[in-house]
Amino acid sequence: MLFSRRLMLGLTMAGALAFPALAGEGPSEIDLFFPVPVDGKLARDMGTMIREFNETHPGIKATAVYTGSYDETLIKTRAAIKAGKPPAAVIMSANFLLDMQIENELTNLDALIAADGTTKAQFLGQFFPALHGNAVINRSVYGVPFHNSTPLLYINAEHAKEAGLDPDKPPQTWAEVTDWAKKLTKRDGDKVTRWGIAIPCAYDYCGWMMETLTMSNGGRYYNEEFGGEVFYDTPSMLGALTWWSDLIAKHKVHAPGATPGPAVSTSFISGNASMMMLSTGSLTYVRDNAKFPYKVAFIPRNVRNAVPIGGASLIIPAGLEADKQKAAWTLIKWMTSPEKSGWWSRATGYFAPNMAAYKTPEMVEFLAKNPDAKTAVDQLEVAKPWFATYKTVPVRKTLEDEVMLVLNGKKQPKDALVAAQKAADELLRPYNAETALKLP
């Protein structure tokens, strides 16, 4: 019922889209589907941005359509494509692009880039190199990075000082984090009254954190060049999961069970957890709500410093008329320009993907005032793409379900990863049969 109601909503919306197209004359009317992944204020900021675009571009009338979470945005976009009236542009979770490309739901942007007289290298060169991986599929550009994030280590500076630790020298390795967490955990007999560290685990966040820990343990989550392989049953991921499980079961400095992102940030804000690993997207929220001094630092390493990116890209769905495609491309280029990119970053807490945004005077001033916003940008040096495979979400879920069992003490890390690998391979089989295993 839920699904069909959603589908109906999508169809109704698609129907509504059909009518402006009949108007014919006048500016080309386009729709931008946008999700609000963090909080409600973003919807208002998006309204401001689109109004400014329409004022400066009389030939185009863009309408921003709020479409819920990242997942719901994907559902509604797909419903609109099926109904034959896709929106002109969508802000899409960066790791859904591969899945959509496999389903032939994306417009290849190479031709639009070439029509502007630029090369792909020049066009992509505007953006941080770490973001290219999720925008380029088989050497063609399918997305333009819009707002992005990396995970960070947040530290309650007050608690650190109390425990005799120097918050200006944050822990850099897993050994140091374990040590800090032990010193920061407060116990009343057997009962823990304050946790040393919190790492989120709910569907979506859990997979991202596993990628983070695996990468800083020297490993890879998936094959960045090919959507048919994930590397769950590997020493680097085994080490990552075992450490996470040890923080709970062996060192008892991390609350047991799976804790979703909002619960982790609330726990940190209320002083119930002294450190947390969370997205840079939460930085504005922490800045506005923490009643104590805090520090942000790179995600600590066991083997090397490395983190995945997160966030969203702008895409153009397949099946649009040429004039709408052109109008959408104008909108996308405008939204990802240095000035707009910087403005959106300051409003949301995500970092601006366009490198030139950090040279604008407003951004220089903002970073001088909020040096913590700079840590995420600095960490981009060691960032890599976000996992994206054939059927990204179910493939990710096979791992998350097993990780949740481990965090609840119901399964050993090795058994969990073997089971996750088996389930993921099964899901990826049809894609591999059509690509890597399709032989002449």
């Binding site: 019922m1 057997d190 709910a202 069970g257 619960a263 726990s267 209320s270 379900d401």
Partner: protein, 325 residues
């Protein structure tokens, strides 16, 4: 009795329930009248026409589409859709996640229906007389029904927050280890069930209140004069009189257990480790996350078949009990 029930149903049911709960009795009537000649039933058809049009468009049309979609699948991502017959249904039945969802849903249905119906009956018995106090209490108990499930889930999300939530704030002092209410696969389903009971008990109370009105006063009085105590009156007069109400509420509660997954969607997304995955959420996962419309349709068909069988069975026993029209 029947008319009371139907009136309650019409005025109180929420739109989602309306389609399911009211479609059956009118249909029975239509079928029976059809036998006595089309001409005589023409006014009925005309009266039903508007709702039949909408049912055809948004309910039966969609069901037909689901039926067709369930028969098609793609073998590889780029392969064309082809007719596969019952393969999708077999794939769903062989999927351990579906079996898990069915088991969860059975536990959830029994574990929410029995406590919420029992609570509803207790509430109704306690508040059966109408005065200012009971009216206020009835309104208070009915309150959760008025709160949309999504809003209630967001509220409970805060109540269940580990360590810092409202629940842990109060009982945290008593327990040696604070449970991770929604993050522990052993507890999460029970936590979800508590919300459903909290939300539905007040709703079912209304049906029992209506049912109690229909208990003949003279019989109760006669029993009273014959020296029957409160328990005897309850056991031998009130309970038998409430039987149709029970049947009806059990059907509604079971339908709710299958068709309402808003809280699962908001609070757990079926997790941790599929511990709160219910059948309808499984359908959503197949359709949206796996993007496998064939399997999603097959699972929907199986659910629909089970629900229709259940509804038909219970309305038949309801009709039997009343000896037909």
């Amino acid at each position: 009795m029947r008319s009371t029930l139907q009136r309650d149903e019409m005025s109180l049911a929420e739109p989602t329930r309306l389609a399911v709960t009211t479609s059956a009795p009118p249909r029975l009537n239509v079928l029976q009248r059809f036998g006595s000649g089309f001409k005589a039933s023409l006014p009925a058809w005309l009266l039903l026409l508007p709702s039949l049009v909408f049912l055809a468009l948004f309910t039966y049309g969609a069901m037909g589409r689901v039926f067709v979609d369930a028969l098609y699948a793609r073998s590889t991502p780029k392969a064309p859709l082809r007719f596969v017959g019952l393969d999708n249904i077999n794939a769903v039945l062989a999927d351990p996640a579906f079996a898990g969802a069915v088991i969860n849903n059975l536990i959830y249905a029994v574990g929410t229906a029995i406590p919420s119906i029992a609570l509803a009956l207790v509430f109704a018995l306690a508040l059966s007389r109408t005065n200012a106090v009971t009216s206020a209490l009835r309104a208070a108990l009915f309150m959760p029904v008025l709160i949309p499930m999504v809003a209630a889930s967001a509220l409970f999300l805060f109540i269940f927050l580990p360590n810092v939530g409202l629940l842990d704030h109060y009982i945290g002092r008593l327990l040696p280890v604070l449970p991770n209410w929604l993050g522990d696969p052993d507890i999460a389903l029970s936590a979800i069930m508590v919300i459903t009971i909290w939300k539905n008990a007040g709703y079912y109370m209304l049906f029992f209140l209506a049912g109690l009105q229909a208990v003949p006063e003279d019989v109760t009085e006669a029993a009273h004069l014959d020296g029957a105590g409160p328990w005897q009156r309850f056991r031998h007069i009130i309970l038998p009189e409430l039987k149709p109400t029970f049947l009806f509420v059990i059907v509604i509660a079971t339908l709710n257990a299958v068709t309402q997954v808003d809280h699962v969607f908001v609070m757990t997304k079926g997790g941790p480790s599929n511990a709160t995955n219910l059948v309808l959420f499984y359908v959503y996962q197949q359709a949206v996350e796996h993007y496998d419309i064939g399997k999603a349709s097959a699972a929907t068909l199986l659910t629909l078949a089970a629900l229709m069988a259940l509804t038909a069975l219970s309305f038949r026993s309801l009709a039997n009990r009343e000896g037909g029209p």
